[in-house]
């Protein structure tokens, strides 16, 4: 049913989430919101890497653009909540477009290094201009949930609803784009850009388009992230965020959207697991500080060594292999 009627599938999943969000405690609801945000951000990397063969390590910088754009729109023009998210998407997409024009000519390690430089540099640039509020950053307050939802409706649940809805819409839309003419062009470019060019695909334009859409999604994720923590500041988009997102994308498998939940859930679960371990064994502070990094990095290296295409793709290939026999 899910294959034939994706819209029905997505709606059903949304309803399940809605029911679940009423049954679990606040912390889980907040983590759910974080998962939804990571899903969008990871999908933006998968779009770029898996479907156009480019790897960006600077996704955090694009998230930052989205977050700052949303906060500025809200604080200066008092834009309504839905509009701030649209502005975040547009601003980040514009940034991605400009980056894409330069980056479409780069490949592999050059692009990775250039985007890495962007991720390291952009937060410190945001620090320098007073309009961005310096080290403290800007407040980004979307206000309390509407009164019609009842008195017991918590702020976190409101965040979760917005983030989950945005993630569902974004993934559904992205899935359709992937199956469209553009998606097929990207796959062709990824497979062999010379062959794609000979088949009449404008490689440069397609890469820039992939960059722009990917950046727009990243901007949405950035605005949502800013929403859940109520502020945007350089510290909210550190290099570690870019790395985590790249990790999430690799764990999900960069060639399909199907596994996008795996990476997002892992990223949220790891700090939780570490907390449990630390409190169970009463470990020292250095374990609490470094265990997450250790787990993530080990997982990353093992994944690229043994399941470079991601678990979903791996299972599919194995199934096809077995079917042939």
């Amino acid at each position: 049913m899910l294959k034939k009627h994706p819209l029905a599938g997505f709606s059903l999943f949304g309803i399940i989430l809605f029911i679940l969000s009423n049954r679990v405690d606040e912390l889980r609801v907040f983590q759910g919101a974080t998962v939804a945000i990571y899903v969008i951000a990871i999908a933006s990397i998968i779009l770029l890497t898996g479907y156009s063969g480019q790897v960006s390590l600077g996704q955090g910088a694009l998230l930052a653009i989205g977050g700052y754009a949303a906060a500025l729109a809200r604080n200066h023009w008092g834009a309504p909540v839905w509009l701030t998210f649209c502005i975040a998407v547009l601003a980040a997409a514009l940034g991605g477009y400009l980056l894409g024009i330069a980056a479409a000519r780069l490949s592999g390690p050059y692009l990775a290094g250039t985007t890495l430089a962007l991720a390291i540099g952009l937060p410190s640039i945001a620090n320098q201009f007073s309009i961005f509020g310096g080290e403290q950053g800007l407040l980004f307050d979307i206000g309390a949930p509407p009164a019609s939802l009842g008195e017991n409706f918590s702020q976190y649940k409101w965040y979760f609803w917005i983030a989950a809805l945005a993630a569902l819409i974004a993934i559904y839309w992205l899935r359709n784009v992937m199956n469209s003419r553009y998606g097929r062009s990207w796959k062709a470019v990824r497979g062999n850009d010379v062959a794609a060019e000979l088949a009449g695909i404008n490689v440069g334009r397609n890469k820039v388009l992939a960059f722009t859409i990917s950046a727009g999604l990243a901007g949405l994720a950035g605005a949502l992230l800013a929403m859940t923590i109520s502020t945007v500041s350089p510290g909210a988009f550190p290099l570690a965020l870019s790395f985590s997102l790249a990790t999430g994308a690799v764990l999900s498998g960069v060639t399909t959207l199907g596994g996008v939940m795996i990476g997002a859930v892992t990223l949220v679960a790891i700090p939780e697991i570490v907390d449990t371990v630390v409190s169970r064994f009463e470990s020292s502070e250095s374990v609490a500080n470094n265990l997450p990094g250790l787990l993530v990095s080990t997982l990353l290296i093992l994944t690229v060594l043994f399941v470079p295409n991601g678990p979903v793709e791996q299972l599919r290939t194995r199934r096809e292999h077995r079917a042939k026999k």
Binding site: A102, A112, G121, I125, T247, N289, F306
Partner: protein, 302 residues
Amino acid sequence: MAQFINMLLIGIGAGSIYALMAIAMVLVWRSTRVINFAQAGMALLSTYIGFELVQKTGNFWIALPLAMILGAFFSAVIEILLIRTLIRHSTSGPVAGIVPIIATLGLLGLIRAMIGFIWGNQDIQIQPPLSKVGFKLGQETIALSPMNLLVLLTVLAMVLVLGFIFQKTSLGLSLRASAYSPEIAQLAGIRVGAIRTIGWAIAGAAGAAAGLLQTVNGTGAVSPDSLEFSLLLTFGFIAAVIGGLESLPGAVLGAVVLGLVLACVQIYISGTFVFVVAFALLLLVLLIRPQGFIGTKAGRRA
């Protein structure tokens, strides 16, 4: 005038350290076609080892070569354990290009976490072996201290030794042949696998020197999450790329140019624009002369 001289001194001083990092990246790129983003982590580890050695021996100039030797050793171990496995498992298809990038990033995180486990996440402090007060030129104090001078001389000595190895010894010939064409080198009887490991080892030593010298030349403080090292990695990468990524003289030239440009921005405009300018320089070179300052046209497809 004094300002101009200071700019030159600061630029060349900073550039000399970027040059070591750029050389490390170029060596790794030439031997295994991998941009080693973990170079920052390896340099960091060597710096921590250098810190321990300074504590034990009390002498920076004994600690530096020892840290470089250990840095070379770690780098070789990483090549043998990780990069060889990676090449053996090498996949074709869409992810082939990103696998080494992701693997070295994972390694960077792993090294940082392990340093945190061993030494904790607080800053450690390495005492500079020499005075950091600038020399006097008449009335003016110029931006060149005994420490800066020694860093400069050390880097110069290392670059000369490396140049000698590459141009005059049979090891250098093997290194160049393996980078030029692994298959032909293998047919000519060069053990390409071992040569690759040596390339990584030299890169590890250069990175170790870059890390230690950058630390004592700067504030002397390091932590596992040091921004200083992220910047060192980025500027080393930028220097390597604008220099051509294939050539060692190119890496040195790129680093000195980058150092001078950044010093110029810092002194005449504002320190806040250093990063923007470095980034713009990288994009500009990639767009106008993608093969770098020194590099042949056929060098790469960007």
